[in-house]
Symmetry: C2
Subunit: 529 residues, 2 copies
């Protein structure tokens, strides 16, 4: 069978007959799917960059209402194709059609696209600032170059390079996107690109606003990351690949945002466990096992203090893990990687407390795993005990006392989230107040009394944190309009004649709704004349 074409410069282009190709698998069966996809050549990468640059220059001058119309037409197209897309993605990822793909992830994705459209139309992401006394006016503006978006394996829609959060943010701020499909779900990505291409025509934006390839050599990927035609990068994926892309982008000072790894510590303070240890164990187990644990914010490291209630918690949690069926994982290597992590943790001194059913069905299946380790053992090699177990695995650190727990907290690396369960009667408050200052600066989001797996697309959400959890501690990958600001260049107009100013910096508020900081006051009004 001929390899599927790539979307380059508005056309579906087939790779040369001698191009390298690859085949995705069906994780539920473990079998290769019949479709083949090409590895992009150097010439194809150049064509993507050229077309993306040209489209970005056009988009930087395009009325945001046309860009919003594109995002909304695309969201409509995805919604109309929900059944087909969910079936296709389920075949490529092993994720269930319902509720995960149809009820949760596709609506989340179209919702993000519509929020991004609204943000493009309102323009608030630009944060215009006007100082009338000095006639200085500044705002965030498009980079004028395309954004490369490399999505992860675990969200075929909501974080897909051609449809997810980074995509929506880059488009809404006036950039063309060069999307790299994750090679585990290339067919889903291609179908999304077809729908997006149709939406470009509906909205009248350049066809090269969206382009798609599936894979390149590492060398071509690094070349692309440092190419002057590229404006910025959004990358969600493995730490090894991400660090190399980051180095290439950093060397030329290109903005690049990463989400690489996170163990998401959850502290169960003694008073909380005294109140409801078993309930909390079940809440934790459900969160950790959801979607075979394949979430960036999966709770992977639990912090407790030794005691009878902690043993109750562990007993219940272990029983839940022991009873858990094996789960399908996204790509062939993941179950083995989880097994290897479990073995390594045991070799380092952790104890296996619960292990899900041994898989008997075909497919890329993993056994959930719950481990425990003493605080003292953890402190002997804090780095080893913070290895990310991607999937349904977690390590419970049982500290001897509050001092040892504080010492463990001191050694935590960066994460996307940090969660604290504490007693309702205030009995944990002193310990909370001691631990939070140690841990809070290491994570983008601090939670009370809830699991970190839910990531609401809401303006105040932060999905990020210090490197390598995030790429820059000042930004978030989820939450609109904050996530859009990652792709903005701050530009000042100094004494620029009135008729030459961008609409959002002119005296008159261009749409009546954009918030502007005029002489120190945030307002939707015009500049007073």
């Amino acid at each position: 069978m001929t390899a599927h074409p790539m979307l380059i410069a508005g056309e579906w282009r087939s790779a040369p007959a001698d191009a390298s190709t690859f085949q995705p698998s069906n994780p539920s069966t473990g079998e290769l799917l019949p479709d083949t996809y090409p590895v992009a050549s150097s010439a194809e990468i150049d064509a993507l960059l050229d077309a993306g640059l040209s489209a970005s220059q056009t988009l930087a001058e395009t009325d945001p209402t046309a860009i919003a119309a594109f995002l909304e037409a695309y969201a409509d197209g995805i919604a109309a194709a929900t059944d087909e897309l969910a079936a296709l993605a389920s075949t490529e990822t092993g994720l269930p059609v319902k509720p995960r793909l149809e009820v949760v992830e596709i609506p989340r994705t179209t919702g993000q696209l519509r929020q991004a459209a609204a943000a493009a139309r309102a323009g608030d992401w630009k944060q215009p600032v006007i100082d009338t006394a000095n006639n200085l006016r500044s705002q965030l503006e498009p980079l004028g170059k395309p954004v490369l978006v490399i999505g992860p394996n675990n969200f075929p829609f909501a974080f897909n390079g051609i449809a997810g959060g980074d995509f929506a943010a880059a488009i809404a701020t006036g950039h063309a996107v060069i999307a790299k499909a994750h090679p585990a779900h290339p067919g889903t990505s291609k179908r999304l690109a077809e729908i997006a291409l149709a939406a470009t025509a509906t909205a009248g934006v350049p066809t090269a606003t969206i382009q798609l390839y599936y894979r390149s050599s590492h060398a071509e990927g690094h070349r692309m990351a440092s190419d002057p035609r590229l404006g910025a990068i959004g990358f969600t994926g493995s730490e090894g690949a991400g660090r190399k892309i980051k180095a290439a982008a950093d060397a030329v000072g290109k903005p690049a945002y990463f989400e690489l790894s996170s163990v998401n510590p959850v502290a169960f303070l003694p008073g909380a466990l005294a109140e409801k240890a078993a309930d909390l164990a079940t809440e934790f187990s459900g969160s950790c096992l959801l979607g075979t644990g394949q979430f960036c914010t999966n709770p992977g490291l639990l912090l407790t203090i030794a005691g009878a209630d902690t043993e109750t918690f562990l007993t219940t949690a272990a029983a839940n893990f022991n009873a858990a069926p094996s789960g399908v994982m996204l790509v062939p290597s993941l179950p083995g990687e989880l097994d290897a992590s479990v073995k390594a943790l045991v070799a380092d001194g952790a104890e296996l407390m619960g292990r899900g059913t041994q898989p008997t069905e075909p497919g890329f299946r993993a056994q959930p795993a719950l481990l425990r380790v003493s605080g003292a053992t953890f402190l002997g090699d804090p780095k080893a005990f913070q290895r990310e177990m991607f999937g349904p695995g977690a390590l419970v650190v049982v500290a001897a006392d509050a001092d040892e727990l504080a010492a463990v907290a001191e050694h935590l690396e960066s994460s996307l989230t940090a969660s604290f369960y504490s007693a309702s009667d205030g009995s944990d408050d002193a310990l909370y107040d001691r631990l939070v200052p140690i841990i809070a600066a290491k994570a983008g989001r601090l939670l009370n009394d809830k699991m970190p797996t839910g990531v609401a697309v809401s303006p105040a959400m932060v999905h990020g944190g210090p490197f390598p959890a995030g790429g820059h501690p000042g930004f978030t990958a989820v939450g609109i309009p904050a996530s859009l600001r990652r792709f903005g260049a701050l530009r000042c107009y100094d004494n620029v004649r009135a008729g030459r100013l961008p609409a959002t910096l002119q005296d008159k508020n261009p749409n009546g709704v954009i918030w502007r900081l005029i002489d120190g006051t945030w307002t939707q009004a015009d500049v007073a004349s």
Copy 2:
């Protein structure tokens, strides 16, 4: 004579007797000054980092009014010592006491410190966002670690690591600063640190809020940049040193901001020259020669189209340059570097149009230089003709026509500023509209009808741009509160109990003046109950 001590952990510590030392010079005489300063050892760097980390942890929990009080007490102390400081800085830099140091730079510096104090007190830099429906609240917060500030040679006060814009921004956001004095003005920096130390006592902030060293080995500098105890870096200086510091910080994902090099293109469009070529030549000459041209925003590359008015402009400008006296430069190497650049440009095909008086007095004196080159020659090697001539030097590109000028614009590298002079009657507007989209994305600030040398400390100012002019295109080094946001970490409070929220995220507006984005509306009001 014993080497001057460093300010480490609140104490003036002398280096060991066998430490390497250096002596600054008096640029006006060319002679070494009698004072010696130590090169910091590895142990001293560690002591700076330890004390800075501890102080930063305290400052992150300190009431911003105490931090504001420190900044204001420090500004008061500088103002009170103006005469002494200006005399000392003049000896070390060759810059005139009046008007430059006493009338311009010291008041600018105290003004920045006071603006930063006001920003700390108001808290707007945090940009709090509250979504009541989801009970999500987020804001920018201190990193919890110290900021290393490395200042340049050309502003002994306004960009000094111990007193300038990066210093003020880092302190106002709740960080301790580890300042590296520029080795060309260590005495000025030490005197500033003494005044700052006294102000820490007045305001009751940790004494290690401010620390000072003078020099380290390159290896120690790179180790410091990647050390986990350090939160962020602000660097203004040479591109070679900056790129190495950047690589060390990038490898560990540490936020680092740079201002490295900029030629600041100024386009004189034909209609503007037709109106007043000679006046514009004098305006340009004054800007380029001011302060011996030692400004980051010095106009170093002029863009023109061939014609009689351009020749008038060039004739007048050349006469101004020919009549210019030699000027004192900051460090011994600079006059020679300027000479070498002039020779290289001539060798590449530029023509020397004006050259200031040959120096006869002692000191580090440079001859101003004005050169011209055709657009065609420029296009033969655009990179070579954009070498930064730090000091009183500029290259005028004379393009054959508008198309050639547009081609020149396409090849411009990044700069802090881009300026356009155009006719008052609209006759240049078509050319302006053609050139600006090419050039604007390459600079942080676009100017009309004025020279770029003035950089107002105003909220809408942008002093930055794409790398290597700036370090990240989304930020500015000048302008409050925007410059403060560089040092913020975005943190979200998800379902966090009301009593545990930071004051600025609680329902009640803590000071009645901080602007917060509550459910999509910027307001100074409380959250509606």
